[in-house]
Structures are given as C-alpha cells and as structure tokens.
C-alpha cells in the first residue's frame, strides 16, 4: 500500500510539474521522423532550437529514421505510436487529412508560412482552404540529367533516344508513375486535378485526358517506349548504363559521381514538338493531432523552426542533403542559385505545374496505364482505340474519388 501511495504521489507530482512547466514551455518527449540521411542534421538543428528557446530546453526530442515515402502510411496505421512531427512527401497529404492523422497549422504560423514560401508550396500544404503542414523543400520536381559525351542535343527527346541508342546507352523515364507521366499529358495542355473539401474528401475531378490532346500525349509515350534505348525507371542507383535520365535533385550527388566530367543537367526536352511539363512537388513537415496543448505548442514551434529560412538554407548547405528550399529568401541565396541541378530545376519550373491533392487510386491508375505501355499492349492501337483507353483511365480516376 505504501508503495502504491508513493507511486500515486510521484505521478501527481510529475503531472503538476508538467502542467506548471507548460505555462511557459514544454518538457516532455517529442518524437520526429525524417529520412535516414537527414537524422543527424535534424538532431543538430533541434539542439540549436533548444539553445535558442530556454523554455523548451527541458524537452527530450528523439529523431528516428522513417523515409518520407513511408511516414504517412505508418502514421495512418498507428497514429498513437507515430512521431509527433514527421516529414512526408506531398502526395500523402490528402490521405493524412482523411484519416485525421494530421493537425491544422497554427494560425500565426500559417500566416508566416504563406508569406515566406513560394506559392506552389503554399498551395501544396493546403487541403481545401486549410493549411495542414509546413513546407520544407521545393525541389521535388524532375528534369534531365545526361552524359555530355553521349547526348549531343538534350532539347529533343527523339535525338536523345537516338544518341543513346547509337552509344549503346539507356535513357530512363519512369512512364509507369503518375508523377512522371503527367510530363507528357500536361505538355499537350491536358489537365487533371481534383477538388477537395476541408476534410480531405474528394469532391470533383477536372480532366480532359480523354481528348485529342491526351491521345497525342499517349502516342508520344508509346513511341518513346518503343525505342531500344528506352528504360523505365527514375532512380540512378538502380539504373545501369545510363546515357540520360529524368530524375530529381535528390540524385544530384549520384549523377555527379556517375557522369564525372560529363555531368550535365537541363530542363526536360521537347517531345513531338511540345516542351515536356511535369509536377513540382514538395516535402513538408506535419504534426499529428495532440491531446495536450503545451505539447502541441512545442511541436508548432519546433516544426516552424525546422522549416524556417535559416534551417532550409542549412539543409541545402549540408553536403548529405542539398535539399532545395521552399522559402523565398533562401531561394535567392547565391549558392542555391549556382547549383547545376537546382538551376536545371529552375529552368524546368516555367513548365511545371504545382502538384495538388490526388487520391491513391489516381496513382495506381497511372501505373496501370504506364504498365500497359511498357507491355507494348497499345503499340498498334489506332487513335480511336487510344481514346477508349483514356476514357477508361478517366473513369478509373473518377472512381478513385470514392475509395
């Protein structure tokens, strides 16, 4: 009984201490998930944050490695043991909101985010009209890396393919990904967007894929896939014998290493007379719903700090990361402007469409279409047949809204 009393007393004391502390700060545990290679960086930044904010000096922050691609899934599966602050890629935001696994950004912070970040990233962290996350990077776009000694004219897709074929090298473009595929459709002026309400439920699909423009885009992809030099893929470390690859800044280091002095990067080429477009995507930090106001305030402050101008810049400067900032001031930094990969991304930016919210069913539908192209199922189809294919595509996208 004495023991029991002692435990109760301790618990009461700890609780009262905690609530006392919360008036000014927070001293409990906070868990953060970021990509493996960003763990050390984040740990250092958290230390800086604690040094600058004595009211938070008492809290214990653990940083764990969960990739941006996986985080959302894990948070949705078990929100209670998930991290309080987690980094994730934009395509997951809709799901997180629908599953009530992400907290709305605090009002003051939201205003600040809106003012300081590029408009694409600001729209990307919103679902309906509500801001749910803190933009962290604005470099989730793609462009062309190539080997100068192989590719003579990087502005035209046919020539790139011909050069690669002649040199016995491969050209990589991930046609079975909904993220890359839009490069062809949007280039033709097609549209595919979803509208959502504030809770993340999809309300409307706007698309004109099932049209002549869509057929033209599809034909370009089919033609590309027929080339002997063509390979499906977008990751340098699994690609072999690369002549050119459509890929993002995260592979800049690998590309430099691979191509050596022939390393070059530029905007996407022209295919069948139109400049390829593409998605601009973003990485962001989300906060899971909290049952304690003090902890929520601490998470807000920490997430805001981790996505602030100086940290975004530091993240770019870190040789392991080099993530391009979404913060407008950081984007104006000389070093950022001078980066080869980022300037290629910048050159592509004019043709890039900021990525909005897409349901999971869109991505599998797009993969389905891409796989059909890769299986050469559509090689001999005429325009009418291709239009039918795109109608099925749109119907599947429509059905995806309710799944």
């Amino acid at each position: 009984m004495k023991k029991f009393l002692a435990i109760v007393l301790t618990v009461v004391m700890v609780l009262s201490l905690a609530s006392f502390a919360s008036a000014e700060g927070f001293s409990g545990d906070i868990k953060i998930w970021v990509a493996d290679k960003a763990v050390d960086f984040t740990v250092n930044q958290v230390e800086t944050f604690k040094a600058a904010h004595p009211e938070y000096a008492g809290m214990t922050v653990t940083v764990e490695a969960v990739g941006e691609g996986d985080a959302a899934n894990k948070v949705i599966t078990d929100v209670e043991s998930a991290a309080d602050i987690y980094g994730f890629a934009q395509d997951q935001l809709g799901r997180l909101v629908q599953a009530a696994a992400i907290e709305v950004v605090e009002e003051e912070n939201a205003k600040k985010v809106e003012a300081e970040n590029d408009p694409g990233s600001v729209s990307a962290v919103k679902v309906g009209g509500v801001m749910y996350a803190y933009p962290m990077t604005s470099d989730n776009g793609y462009f062309l890396y190539y080997d100068k000694s192989v590719v003579t004219d990087p502005t035209d897709l046919d020539k790139i393919l011909a050069d690669c074929a002649a040199a016995g090298k491969n050209f990589y473009f991930e046609v079975n990904s909904g993220w890359y595929q839009v490069a062809f459709f949007f280039a033709q002026g097609c549209e595919l967007t979803y509208e959502t309400d504030n809770e993340g439920a999809y309300t409307k699909l706007n698309t004109d894929y099932a049209s002549d423009k869509g057929v033209a885009a599809l034909k370009s992809m089919i033609k590309m896939a027929k080339s002997p030099a063509y390979q499906n893929g977008s990751s340098l470390s699994t690609a072999t014998n690369v002549g050119a690859i459509v890929d993002g800044v995260w592979d800049a280091g690998a590309a430099k290493e691979l191509f050596g002095e022939n390393y070059a990067a530029t905007k996407l080429p022209v295919a069948d007379g139109v400049q390829l477009s593409g998605f601009g995507g973003f990485k962001m930090l989300g906060i899971k719903p909290q049952t304690d106001d003090a902890k929520l305030a601490a998470c807000d402050a920490l997430a805001a700090y981790l996505t602030s101008e100086e940290v975004q810049l530091a993240r770019f400067m870190d040789p392991n990361l080099q993530w391009g900032p979404s913060n407008l001031n950081a984007q104006q930094n000389e070093a950022v402007k001078a980066d080869v990969a980022l300037s290629a991304l910048g050159a592509q930016l004019a043709y890039t469409i900021p990525q909005g919210q897409y349901p999971g069913g869109y991505w599998t539908t797009a993969t389905g279409l891409g796989d059909d192209i890769l299986a050469h199922k559509l090689d001999d189809a005429d325009d009418a047949a291709l239009l039918e294919v795109l109608k099925t595509f749109v119907a599947n996208c429509e059905a995806a809204m309710n799944q």
Binding site: W33, A35, D36, K37, E64, A65, V66, G67, E68, G69, D70, K74, T77, D78, S81, A82, A83, S235, L236, S237, T238, A239, T240, N241, W250, D251, G253, A254, E257, L258
Partner: protein, 315 residues
Amino acid sequence: MSEKNKIPEVDIVIDQEAGVIREVKPDKLRSKKGHERRVNTSIYVTLVLMSIIWLAPFVFLVFQSFRSYLTESGGMVNYLLPKQWSLDNYTWLLTDPSSDFLRWYGNTLIIALFCSVLQTFMVLSVSYALSRLRFKGRKLIMNVVLVLGMFPGFLTMIILYFLLRQLGLTQDGAVPGLILIYVASSGMGYYISKGFFDTIPKSLDESARIDGATRSQVFRLIIMPLAKPIVIYTILMAFMAPWGDYVFASYVAFGSKPNYNVAVGLYQWVNVNDYQGYFTRFCAGGVLVAVPVTVLFLALQKYYVEGVTGGAVKG
C-alpha cells in the same frame, strides 16, 4: 518430353542402391554398357548445367559485394566482375558508425536463438501430445488447427500489431514482440514432428507404463532420447526462419531503426529511394547473413532431409 529426359527413367528401374542390378545377367549388362555411358554423360551435362544455374546468383552476389561503393559504384551496374576488388562494403557494414548492421544482426540472432528453443518446446509438446496420447478432444484440436491454417497469414497483421502494442512490444520492443509472435502460434506447425513420433513403436511406451513410469517420464526418458533427429530438425527450422522475415518484422519495428532485423534493414536499401548507392552494401550484408545460415544448414542437412521426407510422406 525430350529424349534426354527419358533416359534417366530407364535407370531408376535398375535402381542400384536397392541392389537390383546384381540380378541382371552379365551379358545383358555388357550389351547395355555403351548405352549406359551415353546416358551418364548426358546426366552429367545436365547436372553441371544445373549447378551453374543454381549457383550463379550467389556467385554474382558475392562478386558484387566486393565492388567498392566508394571508388567504383554502390548502385547497380551492367557488368559482373568488379573492376577493382575491395572490402569497402564489408568494412562499412561492420565498422562505420552510421551502420546499424551489427545491431540488426544481433537482433536477428537473439530472435533466432530464442525461437529455436521456445518454438521447439511448443512444437514438441503439441506433436507429442497429439501423436502418442489419446484423450477427449484430440481430433477436435487437429481439425481446428487444420481450419485455422486455411486462413492466410497476413490477414491478421494489423490486429497482431495492436495486440503487441498493448503489451508495449512494438518499435522499441520489437525484438521480444517478434519472438512472442513467432512462438505463440508455432504449435500449429506440429505435422512433421507428429509424423516422426507416429513412427516410434507404441510398445515402447506401453512396456514403460507397465513398469510404473508416468506419462511425463515416458516422454522425458524414453521418447526424447529417440527424437534427436526431429528435435534438431525443429531447432534448425526455427532458427532459420527469422532471418528471412521482412513483412511482419517491418510492420512491428517501423520507425525504430536500432530494432530492425537484418531483413528489414537490408530490404530498405534496395527498395527505398532514400538509400542511393546501397546496392553493393546490400549484397555484402546478404553474404554475411547467408554464410553462417548456409554453413549451419549444410552441417545439419541430414536431419533436414529426414524431416522433410518424413513430413512429405506422413503429411
């Protein structure tokens, strides 16, 4: 079926190890000699070809593991032999401070050791009881296990995860959590060892019982000493399985990198985009996992063969 495939069938018929060939008349044998030689040659050719096909992936794996991720390329390449042989991948795995490989290896080893003891205990208990004891509900238990076995294993992943979480055995508690999950239902895999117990003559128990031994004494003193092959088989199987479990292990341990097992740790290096250029390290890690398991397996091969053969025959 091609001619080549038919020929060997001729030869089981004269199954030598069963001693049939002695009965064949010498002159008949002589006339068959040329034919026999041709048959053997083609069998050797097939076996050599097969050996190459079976070993190739592992040899390739070993080759790639010696390609340096520092000086050459850690990613995938389109050639086989490294331009320069190097131990960089192994050095990184075993000594680099940012590598958790040894930790993962240790986790898996702990899981495997606990499983091989506890699972063996469970499996032997169940199979002994069902094989040599007769009691009410015995048939019922066997039928229930049969029916339960028809549900696919991954169906219950989410609920098992939450059961473990209620016990605090996920993420940081993943290692004991996985041991619990592996062991808890392992009794359902009793078939093979039951088949073995079925073959031990009943009269052994009966005479011991007449001499006044209790059933538990019969089990400990009479049956267990005879059951060595099946005990080793069960231990071996229980020890090997955790090395390959990716699916459930990743589901239980997510987020807690120090508590991964080797499969989860290595799998992400090839399939998660955050890890560029880890392919050769994956190969090296794969080699380090495969070598001890293979050596152990080959050393105990005899028991494995007895186990699967018995299992297949008895069902």
